[in-house]
Amino acid sequence: MDTQNCFHCGLDIVKTEEIIFDEKEFCCNGCKTVYEIFSLNDMTCYYDFEKSPGATPLDINGKFDFLDNESIVSKLLEFQEDTTAIVSLNIPHIHCSSCIWILENLQRLQKGISTSQVNFPEKKVRISYNPEIVSLKTIVYLLSSIGYEPYISLENYETGKNNVDRSLTYKLGIAFFCFGNIMLLSFPEYFEVKEFWLDQYRGFFRWLIFALSLPSFFYSASGYYVSAYKSIKSKMLNIDIPIALGIVIFFIRSTFDIVMDYGSGFFDSLTGLIFFMLLGKMFQIKTYSFLSFERDFKSYFPIAITRINLDTSEESVPVYDVQKGDRLLIRNQELIPVDGILISEKAEIDYSFVTGEAIPITKKSGDKVFAGGKQIGKVIEMDVLHSVSQSYLTQLWSNDVFQKNVEQKYKSITDKISHYFTPILLLIAFSGFGYWIFIDANIAFNVFTAVLIVACPCALALTAPFTFGNILRILGKRKFYLKNALVIEQLAKVDTIVFDKTGTITTNKKSNISYAGKVLSEENVLMVKNVLRASNHPLSRMLYDFLPEMKRLKLDDLEEITGKGIRAIIGDKSIKIGSAEFCSLSISVSSPTTPGSIGEGNTAVHININEDYYGKYVFNNQYREGLEELFKNLSENYQIKVLSGDNEGERTHLSTILPKGTELIFNQKPEQKLEFIKKLQEQGKNVMMVGDGLNDAGALAQSNVGISISENVNVFSPACDAILDASEFQKLNSFLKLSKNAITTIKMSFALSLLYNLVGLSFAITGNLLPLVAAIIMPLSTITIVSFVTLMSNYYANNK
């Protein structure tokens, strides 16, 4: 029992840093403070619902200062009046019932909040508060202080009220209402015996049924008419044409029947059909509301930035108001929203959003800095060169590929089948009509309508929605989130897979660090570790985490020189950690200014103790677990290519890991990646692109299927068709297999539903279709198809 878990956040507690408060163990002061806040307000049952539900609050000093600006706040609010304001905040940490409980009891922590309501699937909390008592900034600070930091980006700006589309729910409700009541009222007709009372009220029942079918026919089914009309107009035969045709014929024939008193009509089957098809539609719409697949730069960019006015006063302004020539102040960890020129002496800029490269780049005064970079370290000042809309990164989005509409680009499998189905159906209907017309015109009319009714491809139309809906759910559970059902079809067709290197097949989280040079004694390592503790440079943090846990030393003096390294004095020893030049390594001066010099394509941190050069820690790219096996399996069925924005440093290493024949292409700019995919597509390939950063955004959009790998699915991913949690990367092959099996399932169930159609047609063409037969065949086929596809897709999912 060396390590214990923090009572608040559940992380392992480092023995030396353990804090015991109220007989509970905490890993850090932050967690303890949150517990204190909760226990002071008697809200400790936060910890009863879920074990260690919390998150460590991060330092947010100054991060939300823009909330002082009234005009920005008003853009974020959903509703605003003198004493009431409502705001919806996106909180990525929401993950369990404890989160819901604490966030819905905010009014006990802060006066002025009247109610708060959590929407769990969207990871949002809606807070109504009194702006006269409490400001939005205070609320945001409160949320951050208890570990629920809201994520506010440019995307939230100008959101206003977004209208939720609930029409499908309405349609489904109405269809069900009509269906249920008509079924009840139809019962007497099913068991029709020549009984006096039933005969007496037949007309009443029939006209009531007719009236009940109207809302279903005119409103619930309206989507199919519109879609059928559109597809005729664009001269593409989709599945909605026979459906709409079937429904209309159904209705006309049934109305005709009861007007002429021929029979009771098929209103029960008609409304049932509409209900089941809408149900299928509903089932297919599986949305991951908390994920956004349409992300562009707006979700990354801050909503406001600090501008330095001519009189040197600082002011928070919305980024859209930033103009050329303005001077901006960028704090530690803030994103640079526009292109500009650096005024401050030096800056460390982390372009990992843009390039996927985690190691920051050093810029000197006068250098150009591009939008999308994140400042690390000290506060910097910069002059604006372009406004937001004209910056390099935002320009990338004006490329045509971002306007693509998948639904129009690809034909779905159902539409392909209906391409043959519709003409054949019409042929059968007309030949049946042609045969009977010479015998009996009345029967001929009946046969014609019966064929169209029975063949109405409801089972066919239900197959794909239920299969894909189920697969979407299964994949979602395995942390592979697809944008919509069409992506499954595209996945099954893929024959070429292109991977991005940095951040996709390598991981930013762990770095593989090795030491080269003179042997460091334990005492020296101890010193290095303690000096690194004080530094916030990403390389320092990585190296700090890499070195074994040790006791603390008191530092006598410490100086961090931006762009060079750290100088510290411990006792009688002086130590330097940083770039080669800084650590007075005169033998091979590779790259003089970068913090970790680039040598042999790798980043390194050098160590100098008492003016004596010891050696260097080299940061190698760490490839994701299971990469080798994944590529081996994939290469059996797919062509694999690796694109990288990096230099060729890793080529030899990569080619030993990856299977032979894998094409490696280096030094690719974002536009070149896009072009590369385009060229492959022109050769007739179906390309799947797997990438991560914004630099892959173009390629992801151009490819047939763009998959974005994300370490944290809640926050960062460029626009794509699917988001894959990085921890599930090695399962990519099994996901692809599953999508192929989904298509097989659909084909099998198509065969099944065609069989049903044949049986129904044989009734119809001989003129024997009774309402009762129709009422049995319709639901029966629907139920068998739905259960068949659900069972099959689950079977494949468990089998992999």
């Binding site: 819901i100 819905e104 959590v118 699937p121 309405y170 409700g173 209402f177 009531l208």
Partner: protein, 63 residues
């Protein structure tokens, strides 16, 4: 036997009543989030329990 007109009309009216209730529920957004309420309804007991705790704390300390 014309009572059947009455009975059927009543049954339809009841059904329409429920139907209107459904439309209202959708309109007010009750179907937008179908997960959170299922968790929320389990909370009531805990809040009462913590209120008891609160009174205890208030007794023991002078808050």
């Amino acid at each position: 036997m014309s009572v059947i007109y009455l009975l059927i009309s009543i049954s339809i009216l009841v059904a329409i009543g429920f139907f209107i209730a459904f439309i209202r529920a959708v309109k007010t957004g009750q179907y937008d989030d179908d997960y959170t309420p299922s968790v929320r309804m389990l909370f009531d007991d805990e809040i009462i329990q913590s209120k008891v705790e609160k009174s205890k704390v208030e007794n023991s300390t002078t808050l």
